[in-house]
Amino acid sequence: MDDSIYCGTLQRSDSRVEETRRNHLDEKCDSETKTMESVIANLFEEYYDKVVRYIYVRINDQPEVEVLAGEVYEKALISKSFYRGSAVQLRFWIFKIARNLVIDHYRKMGKRKTVNLDEVEISDNSSVEELAERRLQIGELSKAMKQLTEAQQEVISLRFFAGLSSSETAQIMGKSSGAVREMQCDAIQRLRKLM
């Protein structure tokens, strides 16, 4: 993965025509990996951690989060639009799907699920001090986040944990950029007081 350009094709391959096309594209791209598999695999490596963290902030239930994170990619696979995208768009789609799954999750749950912070799974390579500190931070943030409106929580998680721009966040939420900036500002002011 060190040098330069990665080249992928996402087209379907159901016949000799597709095979010819792939050969053609292979000739045009000199790097070695060009299949749908590798594109998705790279998206997975690139964003899986971010997706987990994004969903975690919204759901706070690690096993469920990991199931959903996996599902994001599986959903991405069957979405036609997904394959038309450039890398920026693909990232956008990944989080759009993640966001829908989070909404889906809440609807299924019927209500917000809270998690007992003592039960949060702890990775075994952290020191006790780190654990104490991290637990505190997650605790604070997640408690504080619950004081925000649903939309504000979404803005914060998309902006800070999915790493989307405010205009991308606006697009995903179906709001104007101005509205997103306003919610973001209000949310931060609120969080500042709560933290």
């Binding site: 993965m1 060190d2 040098d3 350009i5 080249c7 094709t9 379907r12 159901d14 016949s15 000799r16 025509v17 010819t20 096309r21 050969n23 053609h24 045009k28 060009k34 998705i40 695999a41 790279n42 899986y48 963290r53 990991e66 994170a69 996996g70 990619y73 599986e74 696979l77 979405s79 036609k80 639009s81 038309r84 450039s86 920026v88 768009q89 759009k96 799907i97 829908n100 889906d104 999750h105 809440y106 949060v120 702890i122 990775s123 390579n125 991290r134 931070q137 943030l141 914060i156 902006r159 800070f160 405010s166 697009q171 179906g174 101005g178 900036r181 306003e182 973001q184 500002c185 931060i188």
Partner: protein, 747 residues
């Protein structure tokens, strides 16, 4: 003021995210520093909040599931060999111990489990002809329908395998031709500022299709295509990719060619439609309308955007209206038909406009048709129906939009029938008896499939390995002959007809097999003619058979009931191209050679195979030409091949000439839009993998007249007697009278 702070804060968040320090942000806005500092401290606090470490076991499991899903996807896309290989791997796993990998495979696949057809006690039923539709009264009813329709679904991944098919429509796939069906032409969208102007090569004359190039005879509108691959630069943290640097629609002053220049650029990318002075750009997330009456200053006019689960299936332009077909993936928690936004306003939903088949069927999305006014972007009418996202193919005539999509009958009743009737002597009676008993239980079909799997696993697991292999081979043989007999019941395409007048579902029907692309459908004198391929495969537990392709022609009446058919053309071969022209149908199937069939459709009740020609290679695009000729563009031995057929005598089609190009690719294999015919000069254009080729067919001889190199050729157009070869970064204009270069424009 408040607005200002919000903007500054937003900018600072981005800067801090990109590694800048809090202080340097504050330094940029000294007048706001006091107000900003506490907010930015909070931002840093939020960003630094340490989230849980990623559980690597969960991550690997997700990766395995994803890989399994990828394999599944490949399989659905018709890569038969790969399917069989994967199958073998799965089998060896199950007879070993139940490994983590296997569980992952099953789980991964079951996510896609299909909503089976209902009716547990229902024997095999063959929904031929018209199936009724009804419409919803409310959101509640819509949700209830989806819920009850999915009751049969369990973790039954086998069901999924019944659904894949070998055809799909891309927006940029399709095709068309001058002579065949012609829609009545009223609204003219070609300006008459010059004498002769080419139009995009479409299926039905007068019904335009979006493409990367449009012209009005004065200007060329060109959007560079970069769908096929994208670059990700691992060396830079930036998300800006090389291929995106120079995106956008270029508006080029093209007439007269000596004054060619880029007038302006629209900062969006995608296929285009042009109507008068309105240009529509089809991007990945919506359609954007521009007023281009001043080509130097295109002005944004309207926008139609899709919600996150909606994507474009196809679009057409007819008489100043855009007809849009989209599909909306149904998320279980939030079932909704398409939510379009026009100029950022959500279009209100009316469930009366959402139809569903009365017979329950595989459902994972709604398919939606909308009509918009091209000038204003206003939504004029909309209709949706519950369907499947697999393999949607869209064809539009002057009267109706036809949407065909593959679905599979629930395979459970077939498998039960197979076990009951076809396994006598192959497996012990006790196994058959167990399955027959299972058939009577009042449990879901999905559960029955799981149980059948267990019965076979137990039985086969009890055998020695030699005997097991023999039994497996016998079961496979029996399954193969059963499938050959029943594949027309199992592989199905549902056709939904949406009348343009009132935009309503006016009929639905169903035919065996799946459609290749839009050219597989054609309406003529009130009849819809279809060419389908079946044989995508069938199986249960660890048994799978496929590869017994057959191709059929069906003629349907206005109610989409089958009135005539020819079955079993090109056995073991697949359709590579189809074209219907008036009373004739032309079909190319392929495996090793290219049988080119001519079908007489003059009597819709009794279509007849008239003639057949076998030549090497295949044609994946057929273009009817004057003088009873047909041009085929395809491939032979990995080189682009062009064939010119004489079809004057349907009983004796003949190849007049062929040409094998020293090039391995032409975009015509991908989209008919890349083809240009200029009958006045008896020439046609095709793009190669980089050059553009111009052929003459004068005197039925295919002759390469000239090659335009170093251009990354995409399309060509003509205005008067000038041929414009349009490449990614360049336009070269040739004089069609002497083929000299008149002008070039780099951009």
């Amino acid at each position: 003021m408040k607005d200002n702070i919000e903007k500054i804060l937003d900018e600072c968040i981005d800067r801090i995210s990109n590694g800048e320090s809090l202080e340097s942000c504050l330094a940029s806005y000294p007048e706001h520093a006091e107000e900003l500092r506490p907010l930015l401290l909070a931002v840093r606090g939020i960003k630094d909040a340490e989230l849980p470490a990623i559980d690597h076991k969960a991550k690997s499991a997700a990766k395995i599931r994803l890989n399994a899903a990828l394999v599944e996807k490949r399989k659905e896309e018709g890569a038969m060999k790969q399917l069989l290989e994967m199958f073998t791997i799965q089998r060896s796993k199950v007879y070993a111990t139940v490994s983590v990998l296997l569980i992952a495979v099953v789980v991964g696949v079951s996510i896609y489990a299909v909503t089976g057809e209902g009716g547990t006690s229902n024997p095999i039923h063959n929904v031929a002809g018209t199936a009724g539709v009804s419409n919803f009264m409310s959101q509640q009813q819509f949700e209830d329908y989806l819920a009850s329709n999915s009751q049969q679904t369990g973790g039954n991944y086998i069901d999924r395998w019944g659904v894949f098919a070998s055809a799909s429509e891309d927006v940029d796939m399709g095709g068309a031709l001058p002579m065949p069906t012609q829609a009545p032409k009223e609204g003219s969208y070609t300006s008459d500022t010059s004498g002769r102007v080419s139009e995009t090569n479409v299926q039905v004359i007068g019904i335009d299709e979006p493409d990367i190039v449009k012209t009005d005879g004065m200007n060329i509108y060109f959007s560079r295509e970069d769908y096929y691959y994208y670059y990700y630069d691992y060396t830079s943290s930036s998300d800006v990719m090389p291929s995106q640097m120079d995106n956008g629609v270029k508006i080029i002053n093209a007439n007269p060619p000596v004054n060619m220049s880029v007038l302006s650029k629209i900062d969006r990318n995608g296929n285009l439609l042009l109507n008068g002075s309105t240009l529509a750009v089809f991007t990945w997330d919506g359609i954007y309308g521009y007023d281009v009456s001043d080509p130097q200053n295109p002005v944004s006019k309207w926008e139609i955007t899709f919600d996150s689960s909606t994507s474009l299936v196809a679009a057409r332009m007819y008489q100043g209206k855009i007809y849009l077909v989209t599909q909306t993936y149904i998320y279980s928690g939030e079932p909704m038909p398409a939510q379009l936004k026009v100029n950022s306003e959500s279009v209100p939903l009316n469930y009366y406009d959402v139809y569903y088949p009365i017979l329950p069927s595989y459902t994972d999305s709604t398919l939606n048709a909308d009509v918009f006014d091209m000038q204003s972007g206003q939504l004029e009418d909309t209709v949706s129906f519950v369907g499947s996202s697999w393999s949607s193919v869209v064809y539009m005539s002057g009267d109706a939009i036809y949407i065909g999509y593959s679905y599979s009958e629930d395979t459970t009743p077939y498998i039960l029938a197979f076990c009951e009737n076809n396994l006598n002597g192959v497996v012990p009676d006790s196994v058959v008896a167990k399955i027959n008993k299972l058939a009577e239980y009042d449990i879901s079909n999905a559960a029955k499939m799981t149980e059948i799997g267990v019965i076979f696993d137990n039985y086969l697991g009890s055998l020695g390995s030699d005997e097991m292999m023999q039994v497996e081979a016998r079961i496979n043989d029996a399954l193969q002959s059963y499938y050959n007999e029943h594949m027309r019941e199992i592989d199905r395409t549902r056709i939904v007809k949406i009348g343009l007048d009132g935009l309503d579902v006016t009929a639905t029907g169903s035919v065996p097999g799946s459609l290749l692309n839009q050219f597989s459908m054609d309406e003529y004198n009130g009849y819809l003619r279809l060419a389908t391929t079946m044989g995508s495969g069938f199986g249960f537990s660890w048994f799978w058979v496929s590869n017994s392709n057959a191709n059929d022609i069906y003629v349907l009446d206005g109610n989409l009931s089958i009135v005539g058919s020819i079955q079993g053309l090109g056995l073991t071969e697949q359709i590579y191209s189809a074209r219907f022209v008036g009373d004739e149908g032309y079909l190319v199937t392929y495996r090793q050679t290219d049988p080119f069939y001519i079908i007489d459709l003059s009597n819709p009740q009794n279509p007849q195979l008239k003639g057949e020609l076998k030549i090497p290679g295949y044609s994946s695009y057929l273009h009817p030409m004057s003088g009873d000729r047909m041009l085929g563009i395809g491939e032979e031995n990995w080189s682009v091949k062009i064939s010119l057929f004489n079809v004057a005598d349907p009983a004796n089609p003949a190849e007049l000439d062929h040409y094998i190009l020293d090039d391995s690719w032409s975009d015509i294999l991908n989209t008919h839009h890349a083809f240009l015919l200029d009958e006045a000069h008896e020439i046609f254009f095709l793009p190669g993998s980089s050059s553009g080729y111009i052929f003459s067919y004068t005197g039925n001889k295919l002759e390469l007249i000239t090659t335009v190199s170093d251009i990354q050729a995409r399309r060509a157009i003509y205005i008067d007697d000038s041929l414009y070869v349009i490449g990614d970064n360049k336009i070269v204009v040739l004089n069609e009278l002497d083929w000299q270069v008149v002008n070039e424009l780099d951009f």
